[in-house]
Symmetry: C2
Subunit: 236 residues, 2 copies
Amino acid sequence: MVHTITEHEVLTAVLRVGDLDSGRPRLHVLLWQRAREPQLGRWSLPGGLLRGNEDITASARRQLAEKVDLREIAHLEQLAVFSAPDRVPDVRTIASTFLGLVPSPADPELPSDTHWHPVDDLPPMAFDHETMVAHAHSRLVAKMSYTNIGFALAPTEFILSTLRDIYSVVLGHQVDATNLQRVLVRRGVITRTGTTARSGRSGGRPAARYRFTESQLRVTDEFAALRPPGWVGLES
Amino acid sequence: MVHTITEHEVLTAVLRVGDLDSGRPRLHVLLWQRAREPQLGRWSLPGGLLRGNEDITASARRQLAEKVDLREIAHLEQLAVFSAPDRVPDVRTIASTFLGLVPSPADPELPSDTHWHPVDDLPPMAFDHETMVAHAHSRLVAKMSYTNIGFALAPTEFILSTLRDIYSVVLGHQVDATNLQRVLVRRGVITRTGTTARSGRSGGRPAARYRFTESQLRVTDEFAALRPPGWVGLES
């Protein structure tokens, strides 16, 4: 019998836009520091071994709740399986990974061995976890352009400059707020709340507040040629 | 120790548009019939247990080559992990699944226990494999609208009515060939070859032939507002 018995671990890259009100927002990932060998002191994605009575999604949620006291994940999706035979020493361990998103400015209390780290300035990481973070980031970047996934990163209500900061930070380049507003409103992704922010940073006239229309992931730009006959969507 | 030792299997939903020249094309999935208990005679996705010296992608490719003699996969991507504790009897087995695509009219020779089945008319399937097929189909449907994934289903060169048939069959509704051509050419997804088909089915004037510009998956419709400054793409 050449096949192999494995352990299965479930790891989640939880991403969040931090320091949103500071003027220098950054994309952060939640990491905890290994307290034992191998690779004592290295930073890891939160997670652990799958239990006998749970599937991988239940395992991811349990571990985030137990180990980092994180219960408010706005979006959680399967990312990829990491299965190189030698990815960890000793018993072969296959990792199922998730992408988790936490909205700003939610700032959950964290245990002392757990911290948010900037995705573009990671500390030395355990095993293949740095690749997992890169994978999570690139999945998020892709989904920013064809889904409404921003709902899971933004505050419940926001002004456009805040949303622009979120998009800019995730994408890694400056995004124009006017274009962003035009496209997202046309696609029905964001809606005006009818209220305005009490004061803008720049002290000009009050800025309109927006919210995401939905808080479930959907593809936002099925192109017209592919729509079924009689399709009635948010854009029509 | 409450965690559990598992076996790991790798299964692939290989999809193809069959009967493309018949006037009644359908989306097919490749299945083989179980030759042993449990669930003897039920239809399964091709695959099997992960070996000690391979990762899941290598395993998927090996098993498709060995078991169904399928070596020409135009696109292969990780789909999802199926991990319900009771998904198969006896030893807990976690399944990593892949979506595989084979172009038309490639019609590889198959072993006698292996057949293409219409996705919308599946035979009784083993374990949770029917859910896996549904998952593969819905991933493909989504990617038809925001990527160039059609390259992996289409013949190397094709006329527009053929491409329309492929899109229509995958999406499950009639697509307009003129709109499709307009959008895919504008996005740089398809290009005219400069040649024409010798004769159309309807016997009109010769139809222009096209090909996919690339045979690597990419997101085709990052919207302009999200492009980096100075971005130069196929559409500019």
